[in-house]
Symmetry: C2
Subunit: 118 residues, 2 copies
């Protein structure tokens, strides 16, 4: 088996930096493809392809307006990511890091003096 498809979920879709850039660019509101092309300095086909991936995971919606296609951000699928990552929030807090070190040291000491572990 190979790596999971980029269209599998938000995690995979957003692992690509360009796609994150696109989402960032859409925070300000709807934009036609050429706007994004100009903003990102990418070739138009690649932008369209990235947008396709984002659309498939529901991170953007499209709307036709004349000969343009206006893409709009829809962050809902990011909620899952946010929830998951938040689980680890304590981990990068300095205070927690210290606490963790202390706990680990305690464990090591215990394991050394008791003999009975687990």
């Amino acid at each position: 088996m190979a790596r999971a498809a980029t269209t599998t979920d938000a995690f995979n879709a957003v692992a690509e930096p360009r796609r994150r850039d696109i989402l960032d660019a859409l925070v300000g509101g709807e934009r036609p493809v050429n706007d994004l092309v100009a903003l990102l300095g990418l070739a138009q086909p690649q932008v369209s392809k990235h947008l396709r991936v984002l659309r498939e995971v529901g991170l953007v919606d499209v709307r036709d307006e004349g000969r343009q296609r206006l893409y709009r951000l829809n962050g809902t699928p990011l909620k899952t990511m946010h929830d998951w990552v938040s689980t680890f929030e304590r981990t990068w807090t300095e205070r927690f890091d210290r606490l963790d070190s202390v706990l680990t040291e305690l464990k090591e000491k215990e394991a050394r003096d008791g003999g009975t572990d687990q």
Copy 2:
């Protein structure tokens, strides 16, 4: 060019669900590889490989203890992800969604104005 390496950053490393599972399993504290093998129901080599990726992006630290290698969570690299995702937090708030819809409708109406009578 192909997809970015999984070891490029936390975004890519964590796009793989098994690796997320491993991190989840490590929230409770240090664990030897075989613990993870049992918990995840994966083959030992794959677990070791996933751990390698996690180590390369700094999401886990290792410590030798006899013939075991104890892996420990280090969520610091997740902070970047958290910060980025948080940027979009408003997006999945119901109230914001509604506001957004209204704004879009207004825009659509505006774009249409001046011509058709209604």
